[in-house]
Symmetry: C2
DNA sequence: ACCTGAACACCGTTCAAGT
DNA sequence: ACCTGAACACCGTTCAAGT
């Protein structure tokens, strides 16, 4: 029995959790190393409360970006219906990168979501990885994507996209880096 | 006058600097987040001394890995003489990745060396970037590498290689990721 | 000119006391 | 069952005093 019928949380607990995530989102947007103290204060909860809900910065970062990343799961199917697999893949990453979700801590979050970060693989497979798998599998079926490509490592490669600078120069750089990744995933270019 | 004839440092200062770097190398090999306190203690110097030489962890990380990364500068020319440009590029990164220099903090260091990390571009262009430029330029001249490839972004892409796990599984993963990068840099694969 | 190490400030984490 | 916030431990950084 993996889920031993856990009772629904009390309403104040749910409220606090939501408040914390909202405060953290605002704080991380400015500075991914924002003190947890100040986040708790901004959320209007005690520090112990925050720690009960999220045992550490990593957990908090994940909760903040999880929603945005998960929202892209649905996008994947739509892109796949309207474009060729590799183009869909490119567009998917462009959404992921260019969206306002691209805060300074997004790279860390993506690694965490991919399960490749310091946390290691989580208990259940993250939806973002599943979405990427969908795109990759379609590409493999169409013989456009190399068969040995794995979702985790593609996400790991893509995580560096967020490390490029902001601004127009960074945008162009990110675009070039994305092109390298997409072309590198293409099948049949081996020397 | 960019170098206003700075006097040679006192011998105890030189010794201390070397001791600090050696202690830091050992400490970072285990844990890139090792406390600076303990590094100073292991080096047998006061904390202020360490701070005088290296104003922060980033500077220390850079000093530790700079040597190893710089050593590869020479390798570039040799590889280029013995192999085709793209193969030389692949081997260069393989050396960079597979060598025992691949501690857990190497990724941060590579980003710092590339000047793409939080530090921003340093005063003088890092030798590693120059070496990579050498390889890329040769590849462009041979019409093997896409003309718009820039050293900084290639290094940024490669920095994720160190984030893969250790062990045989991580090795295979790193190899696949490297293949994607190299093939993505190849010219003339645009859809 | 350089070094020392105590002192300060800051942040993460815990836990006894409360509701 | 959940929350609070003071308290503790830890780490980075500074600086007055020394050589």
């Amino acid at each position: 029995m993996t889920h031993p019928a856990r009772r629904a949380p009390r309403s104040d607990a749910r409220h606090n959790r939501a408040r914390i995530v909202r405060a953290a989102r605002a704080a991380f947007a400015e500075d991914p190393a924002a003190p947890l103290h100040s986040i708790a204060k901004a959320a209007g909860v005690g520090q112990g409360t925050m720690y009960r809900h999220f045992p550490g910065r990593q957990a908090l970062l994940l909760a903040v970006y999880q929603e945005e990343v998960d929202a892209l799961t649905d996008t994947a199917a739509g892109l796949l219906a309207a474009h060729e697999p590799l183009e869909a893949l490119r567009l998917w990453f462009e959404h992921l990168t260019a969206g306002r979700s691209g805060g300074p801590g997004a790279s860390l979050a993506v690694e965490a979501v991919a399960g490749t970060g310091p946390t290691g693989p989580g208990p259940d497979r993250p939806p973002a990885v599943a979405a990427l798998d969908l795109l990759l599998d379609a590409g493999k079926a169409a013989r456009q994507v190399r068969p040995d490509a794995e979702a985790e490592e593609v996400l790991l490669l893509a995580s560096c996209l967020w490390r490029a600078d902001e601004g127009p120069a960074g945008l162009a750089r990110r675009r070039r880096m994305l092109t390298v990744i997409i072309d590198g995933l293409r099948v049949g270019v081996g020397h």
